[in-house]
Assembly symmetry: C2
Homo-oligomer: 184 residues x 2
């Protein structure tokens, strides 16, 4: 950030009164500009024991497989966002969402929340951001070609919990150095 | 937003190519400015069966009781943020955090995540944003003077779950009209 979004004049990094962190503060109108982590909402859609995965058409990790997920938008609930992303990326409709995995990725200031979900029917196709969409049995999952650690971990939890017959919410912090190529 | 934070020139609301929502886009440098929901991380600190509450010194809902919670900062995990807020608002140290309640408040584009936590000792005192901090048995909780619905619901879940001896993660969407006085 270089300029104030309120008045267009330059901003400086300083610690506002009563705060303990540097923020961008406008030199002219004194507006304080906050920047905060973003939320990614996603689904683990299941149809007759098979899980739905999308092959990414876009960076980062184009060509690798992922669960449908994306940035939560203003005015959405987390569930609404997860349902929308599943429709956008896989043209798939889901129901009965249950919160399942929660990840913090502090190096990129992102929070991921995945929901187990039932596909409403077996209709799906690649959306704008996907090359391919398909259903996979556990042994068919392209484990070596998954896009992000949060995808692998969510799938691993799912197949393990399915054996046990119980799906508690799993939470984990993923602590890695920032990767200039956009690794999540 | 009126001006581009990258180049200081005016922005306009338009739907960028490949997008389906209006964003602020710079008329000059074409930078797209996204705005996304914010995450509030908090704790339900417990000491010998009593819960810690803070009486708010600041708007919104000054004078009402709350659990320590606040906006997650860039570079933090959710747990780190919840621990920091508890230290800032109650000068209290917590350990063994377990995710407990998750709320979506789409009318104000906020996501709340509360963790059950153990107070590390019985030392606490009001931080800058608190008038008073205290421990409460269930029957002592100032139920009529709680600051926000998410606080009441988290406390109600806790006392009910404690009777049952099991603390599953609870999720709920809180759908209300926007209140101009800052009701959460």
């Amino acid at each position: 950030m270089k300029y104030c979004s309120n008045c267009g004049q330059p901003v400086s990094l300083k610690v506002p009164q009563g705060d303990n962190r540097e923020r961008f503060v406008c030199d002219h109108c004194a507006k304080i500009h906050y920047s905060n982590p973003r939320v990614i909402a996603g689904c683990l859609p299941v149809w007759e024991g098979r899980v739905l995965l999308c092959r990414r058409a876009i960076a980062p990790r184009a060509g690798f497989w992922t669960l449908p997920a994306g940035f939560l938008e203003n005015g959405e609930t987390i569930v609404t966002g997860a349902v929308r992303e599943t429709l956008e990326e896989a043209n798939a409709r889901v129901a009965n969402l249950d919160l399942y995995t929660v990840f913090s990725l502090p190096h990129i200031s992102q929070i991921y929340l995945f929901y187990r979900a039932e596909l409403s029917d077996a209709q799906f196709s690649p959306g704008f951001e996907s090359l391919e969409v398909n259903l996979f049995e556990e042994h068919e999952v392209p484990w070596a070609d998954l896009a992000f650690p949060v995808i692998r971990e969510t799938l691993e939890h799912y197949f393990r919990d399915r054996m046990a017959g119980s799906y508690p919410v799993h939470t984990r912090d993923i602590i890695v150095r920032r990767d200039p190529e956009g690794f999540r």
